[in-house]
């Protein structure tokens, strides 16, 4: 049985603490940095980005708009302004390239909360499993897109969306939104592993669909080096995505993790002592290179 207490120790011993936490640190810098860009205005009077994740304006020129929120608004009958349309296109192109769920692991502030809950689960040895299906999020997504059509009074989901609420709360004033955040923390800690981000959140589901053919992907190019320590499965918030790529060699499955559930967070890269995983392109030539290398190796052994 995998010992939660020693999780990651191999990687630290092999690569050093910093390399074993490289992408975790970069993600935190990204998440906090994005918040900081929004906060220098209200806190210091230096306006870099105005607004919040729903729609914003960087240095008074670059508009960015959340396609999910704008889609909800459009479904309730809104014709957006040009700036919003430009903003949506930029965001869509970006996430199409780097992977939709990069939003979840590199931008969304709720990720820090659910990561904390997941870390505590491991430390405290909480092993509750949820009855929820991972497809629940798509049902939720459908629900949030149907509600503006059938209920008058508009973008219903945005009345309770913890993702937008938390970010807006930090930038504009929290009110009682911390109750929602605490609720998600406790849900993830006690009720279900990766409960919110991995099962329910329709925002993640939407970005999942946007990035389903994204170019940037994590791969297991060095999968032959895998020593079956299983730590990547434990640390991964969507562990179902790893197996086909990591263990698919015999079946001739590509070492590239193709499932759009993958958040491109790089946790597996950090935790693997054998450097099995790395970032790469979806159609990267390294895949073929690897295959050839494999054949040569086999030839040498024979």
């Amino acid at each position: 049985m995998l010992d939660m207490k020693t999780l990651g120790n191999d990687a630290i011993a092999e690569k050093g603490w910093f390399k074993a936490h490289k992408f975790l640190i970069m993600r935190r810098l990204s998440q906090l940095g994005i918040l900081a860009l929004f906060l220098t205005g209200p806190w210091l009077g230096i306006w870099i980005v105005k607004g919040n994740l729903a729609s914003n304006l960087t240095l008074d020129v670059l508009p960015l708009t959340d396609p999910y929120v704008l889609l909800q608004a459009s479904l309730s009958g809104v014709v957006p302004e040009t700036a919003a349309i430009i903003g949506v296109v930029i965001v869509l192109v970006f996430y199409f390239l780097v992977g939709g769920r990069v939003y979840c692991s590199w931008v969304c502030p709720v990720n820090m909360v659910t990561d904390l809950a997941a870390w505590l689960r491991r430390k405290l040895g909480i092993r509750t499993t949820s009855q929820l299906s991972r497809s629940t999020r798509y049902w939720m997504l459908a629900l949030t897109l149907i509600l503006p059509l059938v209920v008058t009074g508009g973008i219903i989901w945005e009345l309770v969306n913890p993702v937008s609420m938390m970010f807006r709360g930090i930038v504009f004033g929290m009110g009682a939104a911390w109750v929602m955040v605490l609720g998600i923390f406790l849900f993830d800690l006690i009720v279900a592993k990766d409960g919110w981000c991995g099962h329910i959140c329709p925002v993640g589901a939407f970005y999942n669909l946007i990035g389903s053919k994204s170019l940037l992907r994590v791969n297991a190019l060095q999968r032959q080096a895998c020593n079956d320590c299983m730590e990547c499965y434990v640390i991964c918030p969507e562990p179902q995505v790893i197996k086909p790529a990591l263990k698919g060699e015999e079946k001739g499955v590509s070492p590239v993790i193709l499932s759009s559930d993958c958040t491109n967070c790089g946790r597996c890269i950090d935790i693997c002592a054998k450097d099995v995983f790395s970032y790469g392109g979806r159609y990267s030539k390294t895949t073929e290179v690897y295959k050839r290398k494999g054949e040569i190796n086999q030839g040498v052994q024979a």
Partner: protein
């Protein structure tokens, strides 16, 4: 992992059952959200939407809660509703008594709105209708006590059109005038400058959302004189002159107080000149 996969593959009934469970659960969430949205879309009467805001129901569908209007307001009067506030979460509002709209000519809040929740067709701030000022407490407004104040009249940016002064007789002193402020809905934008300026502890003039401030005439109602003006002629057949069947020499006139007998005046024993009557006794002697 592989175990659950196998289970899913094998047991179709279980798969369908799980799916149904999820769908029902999510459906319940939807019902809850629908019910909550009804409660969440109410707003206190003193919360006023920024200029150009669509009618409330449309506004709630159009506003994506980005706060760009809040950021671009040069007077920092706008707030975003926080969770627990009595206004839809994340939507902008201002409170006239503490921070009224200063009616910027370039309307930066509207320009900032990415979704037309604040209508970009609004080009002239004087056309905005954020609400309507109502002189709601006429017992405490000191103008009604005959005291000179007129602060609301003087701070109004659409001076003398949105609020005018109606001079009335002061019956208490008998010799002074009352300078009564009167709001005109055809010019008032609901900016709330008057409400902030009101000198009372609690403002006597307040801005309310239009639907609270305005009455509405029944749809079937027509004002005869206005219809007549519109049509350029009377819309009902004029009354035919009434004919009274009276004996000859008698006519009827209401204003002349009833039946009038023609020639009666000449038959009176008294002269029309009162001196004749007074002098008649003297003449007899």
């Amino acid at each position: 992992m592989s175990e659950t996969e196998r289970k899913n593959e094998i047991n179709r009934r279980q798969f369908l059952g799980n799916m149904l469970k999820t769908a029902c659960g999510v459906g319940l969430v939807g019902l809850g959200l629908g019910a909550y949205s009804k409660r969440a879309s109410t707003m206190p009467a003193n919360y006023i939407r920024p200029p150009g805001a669509l009618p409330e129901e449309d506004f709630l569908g159009a506003c994506i809660r980005c706060g760009l209007c809040v950021r671009d307001c040069p007077y920092d009067i706008l707030f975003l509703g926080e969770v627990g506030d009595e206004v839809a979460t994340g939507t902008p509002y201002f409170i006239a008594r503490t921070g009224p709209c200063e009616m910027c000519e370039d309307i930066p809040c509207v320009v900032a709105c990415p979704t037309n929740a604040l209508d970009h067709d609004l080009k002239d701030i004087e056309d905005s209708r954020m609400g309507l000022a109502v002189l709601i407490d006429q017992e405490n407004c000191i103008a009604f006590h005959g005291l000179r104040c007129e602060v609301c009249f003087n701070v109004c940016p659409i001076r003398n059109r949105a609020i005018s002064l109606d001079m009335q007789h002061n019956t208490r002193s008998g010799k002074h005038a009352l300078f009564i402020p009167v709001v005109h809905s055809e010019a008032c934008t609901g900016c709330g400058l008057c409400e902030r300026a009101c000198i009372l502890e609690e403002a006597a003039i307040k801005v309310f959302p239009m639907h609270l401030a305005k009455g509405e005439l029944g749809k079937h109602y027509r004002l005869g004189w206005k219809e007549k003006e519109k049509a350029g002629k009377a819309l009902v057949t004029p009354d035919t002159e009434h004919r009274y069947n009276l004996p000859e020499g008698v006519r009827y006139d209401l204003q002349g107080e009833g039946l009038i007998i023609e020639g009666e005046a000449e038959e009176t024993p008294f002269s029309s000149n009162p001196l004749d009557t007074l002098n008649s006794g003297f003449m007899d002697k």
